[in-house]
């Protein structure tokens, strides 16, 4: 799927799996998405093969009841995406941005009428680390090489990426809002399948000025942009009202020049 290849092998008493990620160009994401049920291509010897022992293995007929399910999931860390240019919102101004982010692939073992067991959870694309905050404190995030776009058509999407709509509004009456990076907290975001793309929850940032914290709201509003076919994943945590968090930053404040 995309740059990710996953090998799964069922042996007596265990499952074995291996993963490989190819290099990916964010500006031309891979459109590959296929499942080969009987693959003659073995994992490369250079790959690490892991073994997984599922529960209830010893039960008679266990193999016949097993079903492997592939599900998408949000990245396991917040995502930081840069805007195309340094942005400055005048008081009262607002804007809409679209971000394309690679998803994680969850491989689950399903037993009929029982709970699913997660065998493997891996990112479809290896992302670079980045730090959102200052050198004293902050949060470890993933960095996207692609940029946040104003128009959905400008986004390069593919089968393993989801689109996130980010609505930013400057509610201050005096101050301008300046930023060039957006941090997206993936814990509060669900996934839905649209007719054309996979969508995440829509994020709404409201900035009240420097003296008050920002408000961040997470709501599923993908139906505003696409025809929704079904839910794919629930958020890991439910946001309580508006999550108050510093989610926008500029390079100037990061290096302390803006203080």
């Amino acid at each position: 799927m995309g740059p990710l290849q996953v090998w799964l092998q069922r042996l007596e008493g265990e499952w074995r799996y291996a993963t490989q990620e190819d290099e990916e160009d964010d500006h031309n994401p891979s459109q590959r998405k296929e499942v080969l049920s009987a693959c003659s291509q073995s994992p490369l010897e250079s790959l690490t093969v892991s073994r997984w022992i599922p529960p209830d293995l010893a039960k008679k007929g266990a193999l016949a009841q097993e079903e492997v399910i592939l599900k998408p999931a949000m990245p396991d860390r917040p995502i930081v995406v840069r805007t195309e240019n340094h942005i400055r919102f005048a008081p009262g101004a607002s804007g809409l941005f679209f971000v394309s982010m690679p998803l994680r692939l969850r491989v689950l073992l399903s037993k009929r009428s029982k709970d699913d067991f997660e065998m493997l959870s891996v990112s479809t694309q290896r992302l670079s680390n980045t730090w959102f905050g200052n050198s004293d404190e902050g949060e470890l995030c993933y960095a996207l090489k692609s940029r946040a776009k104003y128009k959905i058509d400008e986004l390069k999407t593919s089968s393993y990426r989801a689109v996130c709509a980010v609505h930013i509004k400057n509610l201050s009456t005096e101050k301008s809002l300046e930023f060039d990076r957006i941090c997206i907290d993936t814990r509060y975001m669900g996934l839905v399948e649209g007719k054309n793309k996979i969508w995440t929850s829509t994020i709404s940032y409201r900035w009240h000025g420097t003296r008050e914290p920002e408000e961040v709201h997470y709501r599923m509003k993908a139906q505003d942009y696409d025809e929704i076919l079904g839910e794919l994943a629930d958020p890991l945590e439910s946001p309580h009202g508006g999550v108050i968090k510093k989610s926008l930053s500029s390079l100037r404040s990061l290096v302390g020049l803006g203080r």
């Binding site: 290896r126 680390n129 730090w131 959102f132 902050g138 960095a143 390079l251």
Partner: protein
């Protein structure tokens, strides 16, 4: 038969007061010590909490014992006098230990480091495994235990390597003088961008540091999560070398050129081996001559202006 004197003694007001002090005082002291420990733990650290609890409990226990003895009618004057003298003697003898204890209190309240941090204490690098009453204990990365007295810790320069969540890894690189510095900096930037463990923000630092004795000196500083230090240090060195090899950028080794003034070409350096004494003294040492010739490169004639003072190269005879 019951001794009426004992009964009278036990039921006397002073004895009852002493028993009350013991039976109520001890549990109350323990309770207060635990409350103090919880309060201090919330505000400071677990180590400070344990230390405070012990000091409070022992001080309170001592006061309780003195009060009980006082109630029972024992004169403590002589005892306190003797304790004072003993205290002075103990104080002199244990001034280092006391200094360590007091230094330990300051270390804990200062919060410069805590258990789990990696410290560099004047060249000793290790993980803090405990901060005790008298000393701090480090476990070095080659699995040795280092005990550093608290007094020494207060006085020493201590570097806390993992105090902050991110840190910068600096790699110093030299490129040959004939290389284009802008190209070198561009290659270093690409190497930093490609390494997934290197943080995109803060941006890597690339500085053209110096015109060195043998090379153009650059500094590549990349920001990482503190726990990724070893992995990134190794990978950056390897990736820089691979990138330089790919781009044809030379990393020079230190070298010197000797000149006798600005008008001359550099001197060639001749390697000389001590000649073996020939068996027949009348014979020229052919073997050694051949040895010198093979090592001796052609030595250019010095400019005429310098001819009278041209230095002799080792191995050249006066006649050549």
């Amino acid at each position: 038969m019951i001794d009426h004197e004992w009964i009278a003694w036990f039921s006397s007001p002073n004895t009852l007061r002493a028993l009350t002090l013991l039976l109520v005082g001890w549990p109350l002291l323990s309770l207060l010590a635990r409350v103090l420990e919880r309060v201090v733990k919330r505000r400071f650290s677990e180590i400070a909490a344990r230390l405070s609890r012990r000091i409070f409990f022992y001080a309170g226990f001592l006061m309780m014992v003195v009060s009980i003895l006082n109630q029972l009618g024992y004169t403590l004057g002589a005892l306190l006098g003797a304790a004072g003298i003993v205290g002075m003697a103990v104080g002199f003898a244990s001034q280092t230990s006391l200094s360590n204890i007091i230094s330990g209190v300051f270390l804990v309240t200062e919060k410069a480091f805590t258990v789990g941090h990696v410290l560099d204490v004047e060249g000793t690098l290790g993980v803090v495994i405990s901060i005790d009453l008298l000393s701090v204990k480090l476990r070095t990365f080659d699995n040795r235990l280092v005990r550093i007295p608290n007094e020494h810790m207060i006085k020493a320069k201590v570097t806390n390597i993992t105090r902050y969540p991110i840190r910068r890894v600096d790699v110093e690189i030299g490129a040959a003088y004939h290389e284009d510095p802008r190209k070198v900096m561009a290659v270093l930037e690409q190497v930093a961008d490609k390494n997934l463990l290197v943080l995109d923000e803060p941006r890597p630092l690339i500085i053209f540091k110096n015109f060195g004795a043998s090379s153009l000196d650059f500094l590549l500083g990349v920001w990482i999560v503190s726990t990724d230090y070893l992995a990134v240090k190794n990978s950056m060195m390897l990736e820089v070398k691979e990138a330089f090899d790919r781009e044809g950028i030379e990393i020079p080794f230190p070298h010197l050129s000797l000149y006798a003034g600005s008008q001359s070409a550099p001197f060639a350096v001749q390697s000389i081996k001590k000649a073996k004494a020939p068996k027949n003294t009348n014979e020229a040492p052919k073997e050694n001559e051949a040895h010198l010739e093979s090592f001796s490169p052609e030595i250019p004639e010095p400019p005429s202006s310098l001819a009278p003072t041209a230095p002799r190269v080792m191995g050249q005879s006066e006649d050549s």
